[in-house]
């Protein structure tokens, strides 16, 4: 595989090197965003791209860093086009670096074609609205924050929380959702999985690799790895390379593709580093003002389009620094993605797995993916009732902490019992437990049946008649 498919203009010598940025003079016609190949004095090659092109100079960003470059003996070749990576179905089952080069010791897979890693903007008119749910077998997601095929639903997590396990469980259990009462569902061969790691620890990458192997999924997984000790700037390419393959598989090969990206916070820090070196005016916490547009150029590469059966579904994972959801990275992400799954340290400390904090979690596309003919007719109202009741539990708990549980009204005591059952029986499930949507919904009814019937105003009379079963 060669990156240098089109030879281009060559310049010898640099005029300035600062961090990952390089300025070269005297090229005349460098194209904005085009790729450069830099050869250092010892003959080593590395890639970069043009950040700014002027008549008399160009600013370059060098992906693998600038150490070892010299002003005099370094050569820069302009390749005349944005970065392209090879794509093919044979890339599944393999491990790559951020440039799409194999790093698993095997020869490069045969490229079907080379695609621009920046992708292309999907015409909104050509999108198909996602409304087919993806069963994850995790109650807190399937019932309350249903993931829909073609959705981008991130996991907002904190350092030390079990997001890796949750992501691995979702990948292992994911199947195309079926309405209750219909067969199928376990059709796991439908999905290809693209895994993009940005600035991730070796242990974590190994964990995923082993999990994929253990569950027999590795043959349909392509991994793009930029580990914690790899050059930070290359992180800006990792998700783009991964999504380029995902789009190829989905839109040119008709596959359903699930993309897991981890950790977007590391990505944004690389973005900040470049912005800082360029002396740009920062927006919040030093992050550049264009971080929204930049993240959108990743997250929006999701969805379904007409004329192809394939889809791209994204589960980006990002660590909230200091568990702060208003930090710019989760904040900007939340504005672009279609909801978020928020993990809670409090629940994790109570040994609840997965520790999904349902109140700040949300799936925007859920409403069209559930209900009659999708999951079950009572699902939307049941989810709404579970939410409302659990929200009330929080009020009751704070009241109980002041006046004591014994002083609570009879109804509020029942809410407390509901709250405990909700966390211990509904949220909590085994890492290997794959709950069907029916099991999950029935469990939900068991829980609301703890409460008096006239408290359940979000459920219709017919639904209550059919499913409400208070303990005698």
């Amino acid at each position: 595989m060669s990156m240098t498919r089109t030879g281009g203009k060559i310049v010898r010598g640099l005029s300035k090197v600062e961090g990952p940025l390089v300025v070269v003079e005297g090229i005349g016609t460098a194209g904005f965003d085009e790729i450069v190949e830099v050869t250092d004095p010892s003959g080593q090659k590395r890639l970069g791209k043009v950040l700014e092109a002027a008549e008399d100079f160009a600013v370059l960003e060098i992906f693998s860093g600038t150490s070892g470059l010299s002003l005099q003996d370094t050569q820069v070749m302009f390749l005349g086009e944005p970065l392209h990576i090879p794509v093919s179905t044979e890339m599944l089952g393999r491990v790559f670096n951020s440039l799409g080069q194999p790093i698993d010791g095997y020869p490069a897979p045969l490229a079907d074609k080379f695609n621009d890693i920046n992708g292309q903007v999907i015409n909104p008119v050509s999108r198909l609205y996602p409304e087919e749910y993806l069963a994850t077998g995790v109650s807190a997601i399937d019932a309350l924050n249903t993931l829909v095929i073609g959705q981008k639903l991130p996991i907002f997590t904190g350092a030390g929380l079990p997001h890796d396990r949750l992501a691995a469980q979702i990948v292992r259990q994911a199947s195309i959702g079926q309405p209750v009462g219909e067969d199928g569902g376990a059709d796991i061969g439908n999905f290809s999985i693209i895994f993009a790691a940005m600035g991730v620890k070796h242990d974590v990458a190994t964990f995923f690799q082993e999990e994929f192997t253990r569950s027999g999924a590795f043959g349909r997984v392509a991994m793009f790895l930029n580990l914690a000790d790899d050059p930070a700037i290359e992180r800006l390419l990792t998700p783009r390379a991964a999504l380029t393959l995902a789009e190829y598989l989905a839109f040119e090969r008709g596959q359903h593709v699930l993309v897991v990206m981890l950790d977007l916070t590391n990505y944004c820090e690389a973005l900040r580093q470049i912005s800082n070196k360029r002396g740009e005016v920062p927006a919040r916490k030093g992050f550049p003002g264009y971080m929204y547009s930049d993240l959108a150029s990743l997250y929006e590469r999701t969805g379904k389009i007409r004329n192809t059966p394939g889809s791209v579904t994204q589960i980006p994972i990002l660590t909230m620094p200091n568990d702060d959801i208003t930090h710019p990275v989760p904040d900007v992400s939340g504005y672009i993605t279609e909801g978020q799954i928020v993990l809670s340290r409090g629940l994790y400390q109570q040994d609840v797995y997965p520790p999904i904090s349902v109140l700040p979690s949300l799936s925007r596309l859920m409403k069209d993916g559930i209900g009659k003919d999708k999951t079950r007719g009572d699902h939307p109202n049941l989810a709404s009732q579970l939410y409302a009741a659990y929200a009330h539990v929080q009020d009751v708990r704070s009241l109980a902490s002041v006046i004591g549980e014994d002083e609570l009204t009879e109804i509020d005591q029942k809410y407390l019992a509901f709250g405990r059952a909700f966390e211990k029986r509904f949220l909590n499930q085994d890492y290997n437990e794959n709950r069907s949507i029916e099991t999950t919904l029935n469990l939900g009814w068991e829980l609301v049946s703890i409460l008096p019937r006239n408290e359940l105003i979000r459920l219709s009379k017919e639904q209550l008649d059919q499913y409400y079963r208070p303990a005698a």
């Binding site: 700014e52 002027a54 008549e55 015409n123 003002g289 929006e300 925007r364 939410y387």
Partner: protein, 588 residues
């Protein structure tokens, strides 16, 4: 676009510098590079022009030509807008799909409106009359729902020498000839207008008719008038977009212009998929027939967000000039402000707050001031209502865009994260939101519902405010410590918040409430309070009141009573009186 007027000297993302002609004008539309990427001149310094480019500049090299057009960035205004979907610079996205497939390429040059399609023109002006700019020539039934006027461009006037007979014409065919002091002018249905300039009017009029949205918390508590301005600020997940969609669907505007500015692609798709199917409750026609959609999603070129706002408001003014009540939704104005920040940063301008340029304030002011109810050049009366969503970082309303928007809008619908987390939608906080139009719309309510809306609203707000105060005590000592009269306030406030303010956009009945239903519901809840208060004063315990079966009906009436069968509310009213009578009898 044939003459090269300059040569690109520097490319920095969407900002391009070019060296060339000194005749190029500020604001001129230019084509950049061999692909003719659409750009606008935003700065001139000797022979260097600064161009904001509305398409991806990847691959553009210094030395590429720049082509002039001699005209400012403009939109095409003619039949064909309604039901259409355009990008920020008014390129027709449906045509782009048909010609170029599912992905948007660069350098696509297509007319915004169909040049082949024939529209049935019905003349109405009289030949020989002397016409001023903006005068009505005739009309076209553009969709079954909307009959649009064909008007003279605002800057054309003269004696009408010839008017086309009734018949089918394309938008470029001449339909009228005027004699302006000896100068012949030919006019077609198509006119162009530079987006950065408001279309002229005769005068601004008083605003006192509410824009009815069918959303109870908006209409009954924080109303907006036709021609007014509103801001919807809210952190992510608080329901800005759903609120905007609900207004776009149900507002009693004649025309809706929906601008998706820097937001999600799937949201636009949802609108496109839903609006042709949704039926307007007032006239039985699909909502898409009165809607224009501008889609500039977050992954499209950033500078075009700026254009999308101006494109949308100019279209709104064009429909206003025909005498329509137009509502324009911009989701989200924060993305527009961020686009300004990004361009400003690349220009090396000195930032004001949080990196935003100092002119952010005046840009927002200019935009919101294009709202209003007006007497138009042709003496029709129209209005443009502007509703802007704001996306404050971290949900913090003290940030510059929210604060500046507050300065130039008169209704503030504050979305609240804790309400959203409890799935109370619309999550509009009733204590921090406000409307400056309460006085203006009181008469409308009186004449349309025969009810003293003003004092009913005031009483409900009073109870909600008291609840907030009482809740602070409850949080410390629990509800049992309160006297029963105050616990009744909590009970009634619960009916107001859950039974009235909370509204389910997905429920077929609850999604939209007629004003008559809204006020009847409010009256029932207040009546409940009035009766119960008297009984509690007589010594009834609050738990007796809480056990009344009518409470469940009051909580469910929003979804159980359809707009076309309000008699069911009377039935609930009767039950209420009977149950209260019975309870009262026990304590007399």
């Amino acid at each position: 676009m044939t003459d090269a007027i300059g040569v690109v000297s520097r490319v920095n993302g969407p900002v391009v510098h070019a060296r060339g002609s000194m005749q190029v004008r500020m604001g001129e539309l230019v084509g950049v590079g061999e692909d003719h990427l659409v750009g606008e001149v935003i700065g001139l310094n000797n022979d260097i022009m600064t161009i904001q480019v509305y398409e991806e500049t990847s691959g553009l090299t210094p030395g590429s030509p720049v082509f002039g057009t001699g005209a400012p960035l403009s939109v095409e205004l003619a039949p064909g807008l309604l039901g259409g979907i355009f990008d920020g610079i008014q390129r027709p996205l449906t045509v782009i799909e048909a010609k170029f497939g599912e992905f948007i390429n660069r350098g696509i040059q297509l007319p915004s409106l169909d040049r082949e399609k024939k529209w049935h023109f019905v003349p109405s002006a009289a030949v020989g009359d002397s016409l001023e700019g903006g005068a009505t020539l005739g009309s076209v039934q553009e969709t079954i729902l909307v009959n649009t006027k064909t008007m003279l461009p605002p800057d054309v006037k003269g004696r009408l020498a010839w008017l086309a007979p009734e018949g089918d014409y394309t938008i470029e065919e001449t339909i009228a000839r005027l004699d302006d002091a000896g100068q012949q002018r030919e006019v077609s249905m198509l006119q162009r207008w530079p987006v950065r300039f408001p279309r002229p009017i005769k005068e601004r009029l008083e605003k006192n008719t509410p824009l009815i949205t069918g959303q109870r918390i908006l209409d009954s508590f924080f109303p907006i008038v036709k021609g007014g301005t509103a801001a919807i600020p809210g952190g992510f997940g608080t329901g800005k977009t759903i609120t905007q969609h609900q207004i776009a669907k149900w507002a009693d505007a004649d025309i809706v212009v929906y601008i998706g500015c820097g937001e999600r692609g799937n949201e636009i798709t949802e609108v496109l998929q839903e609006f042709p199917k949704l039926i307007d409750p007032r006239n039985g026609r699909p909502l898409i027939e009165r809607t224009v959609i501008i889609a500039n999603t977050s992954n499209m070129q950033v500078a075009a967000r700026d254009a999308s706002i101006y494109t949308g408001i100019t279209m709104a003014e064009y429909f206003r000039d025909m005498g329509f009540a137009v509502a324009i939704m911009a989701d989200s104005t924060s993305r527009w402000a961020e686009a300004m920040r990004e361009i400003s940063g690349r220009l090396g301008e000195m930032p004001a707050q949080e990196g935003y340029p100092a002119y952010l304030s005046s840009r927002l002011a200019e935009f919101y001031e294009r709202a209003g109810r007006t007497r138009n050049l042709n003496d029709t009366e129209g209005s443009v209502t502007v509703i802007g969503a704001v996306s404050p970082p971290g949900g913090d309303f003290s940030e510059p865009v929210t604060q500046l928007t507050k300065q130039y809008t008169r209704v503030f619908w504050a979305l609240d994260k804790s309400l959203a987390a409890a799935r109370h939608f619309p999550s509009i906080n009733w204590l921090t939101s406000y409307s400056e139009y309460i006085d203006s719309v009181s008469n409308w309510w009186r004449s349309h519902t025969n009810q003293d809306w003003r004092s009913i609203r005031a009483r409900a707000m009073e109870l909600l405010t008291e609840e907030d105060h009482l809740n602070q005590i409850v949080r410390l000592v629990g509800p049992d410590a309160l006297p029963d009269e105050q616990r009744l306030v909590l009970e009634t406030a619960h009916l107001l918040t859950t039974g009235f303010l909370q509204q389910n956009a997905l429920d077929p009945v609850d999604t939209y409430a007629f004003p008559e239903k809204q006020i009847a519901m409010l009256k029932l809840i207040l009546r409940f309070h009035e009766r119960a208060e008297a009984i509690v004063k007589h010594g009834a315990v609050i738990t007796d009141v809480q056990k009344l079966p009518v409470i469940h009906d009051l909580l469910r009436m929003k979804a159980d009573v359809p707009n076309d069968n309000l008699a069911l509310l009377d039935k609930i009213g009767q039950d209420l009186e009977e149950q209260m009578d019975k309870l009262e009898a026990r304590y007399k």
